[in-house]
């Protein structure tokens, strides 16, 4: 996984609440067997009309926000399905940090597996950042220091220490868990007392 440490870039505001994973990446693009190439379909129905022409009014279709590396969004971002295609699409577009008041659980979790940093801040600060975003400013994120700076304003954010550690170092969860293989082995040995544990064959 790509590590995340510092990031500076344009921030785009999409101030709607409950932006769901179908809106982030619609189902017709889930047929892929790859993780890459989804960026052009990010927010597909907001970005393109029915004839596949760009919808000029949408923020990510306008300069300078078409270069956005960070988005600030409404409450409960990423609700709906478990599709990891949602963070893949964001990342492929070039967005690796999302700021909101809250995220849906599965989406939030999926972000950390892909080097995407979701930041939770209170409503007042999110509104402030959203207003600044509309001016086309850059924002700087520093994960190590857990802070973001925009227009000389500094905001601190909270993050789970383990997730921070993994993001900073680009660590793969599976590798870490497999270091613990013996613990899993001994757990499984104890399972033999549950004689119903293994499913009968199909």
């Amino acid at each position: 996984m790509k590590s995340f440490n510092k990031l500076t870039g344009i921030i785009a505001s999409i101030p709607q609440v409950n932006i769901d994973t179908d809106a982030i990446i619609p189902k017709q693009f889930l047929k892929t067997i790859e993780r890459t190439g989804l960026g052009k379909h990010l927010f597909h129905e907001k970005r393109y009309d029915q004839n596949n022409n760009l919808i000029k009014d949408f923020i990510l279709n306008k300069q300078p926000w078409s270069q956005a590396k960070i988005i600030v969004v409404g409450d409960n971002f990423g609700c709906g399905s478990s599709r990891e295609h949602a963070p893949w699409a964001l990342l492929d577009f070039g967005i690796s940090c999302i700021i909101s008041t809250s995220f849906a659980d599965i989406f939030y979790n999926n972000c950390f597996k892909n080097g995407v940093l979701p930041i939770i801040l209170n409503e007042k600060i999110v509104d402030e950042i959203s207003m600044l975003a509309e001016q086309g400013v850059e924002i700087s994120i520093d994960l190590e220091e857990q802070q973001l700076i925009v227009q000389n304003k500094l905001y601190k954010f909270e993050i789970d220490p383990y997730r921070k550690h993994c993001l900073l170092n680009g660590l793969d969860d599976i590798g870490i868990t497999l270091e613990n293989k013996k613990t899993i082995d001994s757990y499984e040995e104890k399972l033999s007392s549950k004689i119903w544990h293994k499913p009968e064959s199909l």
Partner: protein, 466 residues
Amino acid sequence: MKKTLFDKIWEQHVVDERQDGSSLIYIDRHLVHEVTSPQAFEGLRISNRALRRPDLTLAVADHNVPTENRIDGIKDNIARIQVETLEKNVKEFKVPYIPLMDSRQGIVHIIGPEQGFTLPGCTMVCGDSHTSTHGAFGALAFGIGTSEVEHVFATQTLIQKKPKTMLINVSGSLSIGVTAKDIALAIIKNLGTSGGTGYVLEYSGDAISDLTIEGRMTLCNMSIEAGARAGLVAPDAKTYEYIKNKPMSPKGEAYDKALEAWKLLPSDEGAVFDKVINIDTSLLEPHLTWGTSPEDVLSINDVVPNPKDIDKENLRNAMQDSLDYMGLKPGQALTDIKIDKVFIGSCTNSRIEDLREAAAVAKGRKVADGVHAMVVPGSGLIKIQAEKEGVADILIEAGFDWREPGCSMCLGMNPDQLKPQERCASTSNRNFRGRQGRDGRTHLVSPGMAAAAAISGHFVDVRKFN
């Protein structure tokens, strides 16, 4: 220390407690489908890792599959490649698989219980948010992303933070025509789509005990629509009866031993939950959604809400946007809303009980002119049962389109989609914009309400048909 059902399952599955407060938990059952698994299998190959427990894994293709002319194969090349990739992967990693042309094929959350793969007290995951369905058996079941699918493949565990618990006490008997779907919609209306975030829900109370296992699955299925990754119902005699003699469930002595363990699972009297809410269903009416979020719920005899009544500007604008998208006017009676399509299916409502409910309404009646009504059974076995029982004949005679099993128009990954501005009475779980097809308009309802709308050509109180 008195424990909740969730506490008991959690404790039994902790492999390791980590310093940061998260736990490594063991996964007893892993369901796999074609859409969220290819990158995970590929990850195993790239890292040269084995799939640790194929015997605890079960795969089926459901999201992408056609529901008609299946014998001709999948016409969409990209979709076909995805299904073929699954077939190749299950072969390579020796994962038990139900092929597309097998009568047991169906929606992953239908076949888990149907095959006896789902058991009380087990931890269960799938790269699909509606894995919460299996909570109906008292299994801790939740959806995961593809990276976590790979993690389970490689380690049979997951790193998880212990969620909080919420007890949802549901009391009061349901009037005829009011179903588990209406309870689910009422709960989502109450909690909102993020009210359950960070929680595991436990549904309890006499209204839940009275539900069939199918009804409990419908209810647990939609826990994710309230933001909760998992919903639970304590196992009881109905659960044990349902599981008995299913192909993959324990037999003989193993079943007896399992039963002893399962009976210890229900929450202890006086166990403490982080949050408790109470819902009385005795006056519950059939529900439907009017907007583009599953929390946009009203009773059938209500009218379309007015954005002017909303104080907060962003929420007022959001409501107006939803009404514009849905093509609705404030104050319009819900029973005046005409429909173009009906979809009876999905992991929420495609079980035999759901099809019977639809058939009871459709019997001796005809689908209204101009309405296309589709029934997609949850599995091949359900389809066969409905055909044997005469349920299929009733629906076909009424003019319903009787299809092959799969996820179908719930998410429209296959050709079953709404056209722009088409309005659908759907028994599925999400009314998001574009979910069933670009610019399509989805109203979530129970199977009975969907059938009643099909017959009437507009939404109507299903109780008028009883």
